[in-house]
Symmetry: C2
Subunit: 393 residues, 2 copies
């Protein structure tokens, strides 16, 4: 709850900066459909329709069903709790009349998942409640508010993320000793899951793909679970994995090479592929500064890879990380239809990004490394100790 109060205080500052009078998170049965704003500035679920309100003047208000009220009164981040029994409309309108907000931000966004927690049915319900009042024309998207709030990490948030990153890299170190020809992707994943359980932490995302383990040429690619495919000599192997500590995520990839009998190091073409990935990450990190435009950072890494004769990676260079592994808002994004307007957004101080290019090495597998960097006034700092050379098995 301490983190929630800190982020609510930060939200109030952001509302002042963006000149938005009220931020309304409107939910019901939020355990079933968890608006991502809940984890940031609310910290609990409610069953009935609930209006969680943060005002530019610092007041925080929850309008909630009578059965949810006792739980909500314990929430130190919400000073005013207004109960209702039969319907929320009357009490919600009374709050709006009292505060008279000229701009009311609600959680919808075509581009950012993290700012799109309002369902379409709840949107229709809200607009029908406001129909005929002066507030009907005052709704705006909370995308800018949420993007700033999730992006600008507090010192406490960075500390939690560093813990998650450190543990992930420690586990990767142990993995190097575990890898051997004959073991399967599934074996490697189980080894990692065992270490996660030993440490009593959560995974950063769905266990189906966390960790993701890929060995050798022509494997299933990203967003796919570990299979019974066996590690063989001459494979390039990579893992994508993260943990969540104190509610904050890591998300890191590393690449290994499984030496064949008699090999001291990796073959030249494997080394070359890895170096191109490593250097593209460094170039992107060098370009990543407050004020830089999103798509240009992606372009730095993408161009470097294409210039060296490899196909471009079929995804974005990176995304923000925080409470969610994919924390939304501006990313390091190509100008593709699926990213909407986000690639034209600017990088802000305090944001934390992954940088995760990939390229195929014909006959061996995929080279892919994912680092985490923090944007400071002076430029990007690596929060993860970067992988500078292939890990050899």
């Amino acid at each position: 709850m301490k983190m929630i109060r800190e982020k609510v205080a930060q939200a109030i500052e952001i509302l002042q900066e963006k000149k938005i009078d009220m931020w309304l998170t409107f939910v019901r049965e939020s355990g079933t459909m968890p608006d991502p704003a809940i984890d940031m500035v609310i910290g609990q679920h409610a069953t009935w329709q609930t209006a969680w309100i943060i005002c530019r003047d610092g007041e925080t208000i929850a309008v909630a069903g009578s059965l949810d009220v006792a739980g909500i009164e314990d929430n130190p981040a919400y000073g005013t709790v207004v109960p209702y029994v039969q319907g929320i409309r009357e009490e919600l309108l009374a709050v709006l009349k009292r505060k008279n907000p000229r701009k009311i931000a609600i959680n919808y966004s075509t581009d950012s998942v993290m700012a799109d927690g309002l369902t379409h049915g709840m949107y229709l319900l809200l607009t029908s409640m406001l129909e005929g009042t002066k507030f009907a024309g005052r709704l705006v998207s909370s995308q800018d508010v949420i993007s700033a709030l999730r992006g600008r990490k507090t010192a406490a948030e960075i500390r939690s993320m560093k813990k998650a990153i450190r543990l992930t890299l420690d586990i990767y170190n142990e993995v190097t000793g575990f890898l051997a020809p004959g073991k399967t992707e599934r074996d490697v994943a189980d080894f990692i899951l065992g270490r996660v359980r030993d440490h009593g932490v959560e995974l950063a995302w769905d266990e189906d793909h966390c960790p993701a383990v890929f060995t050798g040429p022509e494997h299933a690619g990203a967003h796919y679970g570990p299979t019974r495919r066996k590690i063989e000599e001459g494979h390039v192997l990579n893992i994508d994995f993260g943990v969540k500590i104190d509610g904050y995520c890591s998300d890191l990839q590393r690449t290994w090479y499984i030496r064949r009998k008699g090999e001291k190091g990796a073959p030249r073409e494997v080394q070359r592929g890895f170096r191109v990935i490593r250097d593209s990450i460094q170039l992107a990190a060098d370009a990543l500064k407050p004020g830089a435009v999103s798509w240009r950072i992606d372009d730095v890494a993408r161009s470097h890879i294409v210039k060296h004769g490899y196909p471009e990676y079929p995804h974005a260079l990176g995304h923000q990380v925080g409470r969610a592994a994919h924390d939304g808002g501006v990313g390091l994004l190509p100008r593709w239809e699926r990213y909407g307007r986000l690639p034209y957004g600017k990088i802000e101080e305090g944001q934390v990004f992954t940088i995760e290019p990939r390229l195929p090495i014909q006959g061996y597998g995929v080279a892919t490394v994912e680092e985490i960097v923090w944007v400071t006034a002076g430029g990007a700092k690596f929060l993860s100790k970067p992988q500078r050379s292939l890990y050899l098995v």
Copy 2:
């Protein structure tokens, strides 16, 4: 996945019955915002924008980002998988042109949470993609489809629910031996959680309120977690709790009385309150038949309680249970604003409801019992062995 295939087959029948040509579940990062339709007819998450399509003619199609495709090709419920890289629009429109649906159901509903998985941002995205095509005017709500699909339980679903109900009642039996003055609500909750772990099953809802334990007069009421309040002699105590087995939930409440020294049974007023609750449940169950109108069933129990001089319960009489403890759709609902049009809906064969009235017994606590009933052609059948008398400690 077997259950998913069974429900997809049922969905196709329902589309035929409702004369809807296509049911489109449109999601992105569904691990973060899990459209409730996913658990029923999809069974996996995807990262990029994904269109999961079920057609009235039986074809099932997934239009998905290239990185998600490998995982989706393993899904036996979706026969056609169409990949895209930069944006979904073109491939999605190609599918629509090929199938030429006159009615496309999408997941939004002002009244039903379970049919409201489409976010407002994704709705805007979808309508912008369809703009200028003949499909723009063909979108309808999937509420009727989802309501029928979740409501009409298959034999396999009923079997799983019976398992969850049986285990819950077994644990309640053990609780009776554990209860004693001096123990706290928290102690009781921990005992139950220990038994749940022993059985290796999941809770039916959020651990914050599952189990919910309330002892004595003037406690915090429903939707509140167990506290350090101690059980005392002369308390009425109740618990609300459920487990999930094979993906299906139970949700049951029971009431105990903690005898004072020298008491053989509960005081007359406690017994009277319990009887009124018990009888109101039986009366509601007797009235619960296919074709009955939702609010009238609530009214049967509510009137019985009020007629006996108790205040009416500040919530609905019951809700559907299934994959979710609150499974959405028609419930046993009063005609209150917050329930929208649902109280005017009709009961269908195959639906499973809780019946859960409550009343306060001045100076002792709250009497509340929650049973689960299954609507068959011949009327409602109790899936839970009903609590016919107070449990005495």
